[in-house]
């Protein structure tokens, strides 16, 4: 029983984080447009979960976030789930490089994740419909969105790290008492 509790807590808090960030994304950040783009704060969480907790959690968080986006805004159900999941997974591959006190590398990952997300969407949903001006879309949408997202990543990084440290500690304690 005492082993399940921290797991439940982790699931609950992560689900809550996804929901809160999704709602903020839809109703607040979609209005705070800078240079005609809005940031993607849900992707910050997916990327963060990936490189702090590893592949499995990265892709599960990505899958769930993507599914939520699909429910409300996807034109094909499952598309965002697939994209977010792979972004979470790829971030998870770099878990070993991650140290909590250095902020530069995580921000780089968040930025790269957003650029990757942008190019995936562009290639599958725009390039295939003869919107061939790659440079235009890169300069006006993909890169500005990534910069904006990284800027918000700076703000969100510390709170997310605190929450994840809190969850991590409770996990460690429980595994120690059991092993």
């Amino acid at each position: 029983m005492s082993k399940i509790r921290p797991i439940l807590r982790r699931i609950l808090i992560t689900a809550l984080l996804i929901i809160v960030l999704f709602v903020l994304q839809e109703s607040v950040f979609s209005r705070l447009k800078l240079g005609n783009v809005s940031p993607n704060i849900l992707l910050i969480l997916v990327s963060f979960a990936g490189f702090t907790r590893g592949r499995k959690e990265g892709m599960v968080v990505g899958f769930c976030s993507g599914l939520l986006v699909d429910l409300f805004f996807g034109s094909w159900f499952g598309m965002y789930a697939l994209i977010y999941m792979y972004i979470g997974f790829i971030n998870g591959l770099f878990r070993r490089l991650f140290f909590g006190d250095d902020m530069k590398l995580p921000l780089l990952f968040i930025g790269l994740s957003d650029v990757m997300y942008g190019f995936i969407i562009y290639f599958f949903l725009f390039f295939t419909r003869q919107r061939t001006d790659v440079l235009f879309f890169a300069n006006n949408i993909i890169l500005p969105e990534a910069v904006y997202t990284v800027a918000l990543g700076v703000i969100l990084y510390v709170p997310l790290l605190l929450i994840y440290n809190f969850l991590g500690k409770t996990d460690q304690r429980s595994t120690k008492s059991f092993v």
């Binding site: 899958f63 159900f77 499952g78 697939l82 725009f126």
Partner: protein, 285 residues
């Protein structure tokens, strides 16, 4: 989150399983048009109240900060408007007379219903779409308020989008300017049909969307002409203003023309919209 089985199942299996699930969902939704169904409704119960609340608060905040700035401007504007009101009153009397005459002539021609006033219902925009790539938004009315799929949405006196999915108390609208959106339209001055398509690139660069296949053989269509939804459109009711032509070019086949138009609806500051409760009737339904 399968933390419990962390040491047992290799992550590539989970990846494979979830990928399969997502791809199956994709095929399933492509084949059946499924876009969430019951889950979407359930999720809407949780999210719509939250989004409504946040939108209300942020609207109130934006308005109160605007109020302070606007006071001086308003007083000045008020004086100007007063003089305009006088002028307009005069014009209005004239227009009323002409309206009466128009109605009389229309009834003579039995054209009463051609551009009749459609029944509409107001709705608030409570959330914008997820990405910078697509232009969709959520409104706070759904099937409980009589909203149905394919109903047209107008704002600022012009076409603004079309309802793509309906929940109990909320619906999703695809904007006119969304890159995947196409509307069968007509240039009013020449009565020629064309296809108006949303364009992300056009909207970002110069606030325009594109039109194509305009068969203007006499070359009478000119910059500034209004474009409305056509009567042959399968989803849009006829006669809704879309925008004004901003550039016209002859296609290389020398038969059709294409170019750009500026939509009348202001998509950057969309907060209230009207949903037209009349569906376009087509023969195959």
């Amino acid at each position: 989150m399968p933390v419990r089985n962390k040491r047992n199942i290799p992550s590539r299996y989970i990846l494979f399983a979830l990928t399969t699930v997502a791809i199956l969902l994709l095929f399933f939704s492509y084949a059946t048009g499924f876009s969430g169904g019951v889950f979407e409704e359930a999720a809407a119960y949780i999210f719509v109240p939250m989004e409504k609340g946040i939108t209300f608060v942020s609207n109130a905040a934006a308005e109160s900060s605007k109020d302070r700035e606007a006071k001086v401007v308003l007083q000045k504007e008020n004086a100007e408007l007063q003089s305009q009101v006088e002028q307009l009153r005069e014009d209005n009397t004239q227009a009323k007379l002409e309206q009466d005459e128009l109605q009389r002539l229309r009834s003579l021609l039995e054209l009463k219903d051609t551009y009749s006033n459609y029944e509409t219902t107001g709705a608030h925009v409570i959330a914008r779409g997820e990405s910078n790539w697509f232009n969709t938004f959520t409104i706070d009315k759904g099937s409980a308020d009589g909203i149905e799929r394919s109903m047209n949405v107008i704002a600022n006196g012009g076409l603004c989008g079309i309802v793509t999915s309906v929940g109990k108390h909320s619906s999703t609208v695809r904007a006119l300017i969304d890159d995947t959106n196409n509307v069968s339209a007509m240039v009013v001055s020449t009565q020629d049909n064309c296809i108006v398509s949303g364009s992300l690139q056009g909207m970002t660069e110069e606030n325009t969307i594109t039109f194509a296949n305009l068969q203007d053989t006499d070359g009478k269509a000119a910059v500034g002409d209004p474009v409305v939804t056509s009567n042959i459109s399968s989803e849009y009711v006829p006669g809704l203003l879309i925008g004004y032509l901003t550039s016209i070019e002859a296609d290389s086949n020398n038969l059709t023309k294409s170019g750009t138009l500026t939509p009348v609806c202001d998509f950057r500051h969309l907060s209230e919209v009207l949903v037209i409760k009349q569906l376009k009737e087509t023969s195959d339904e």
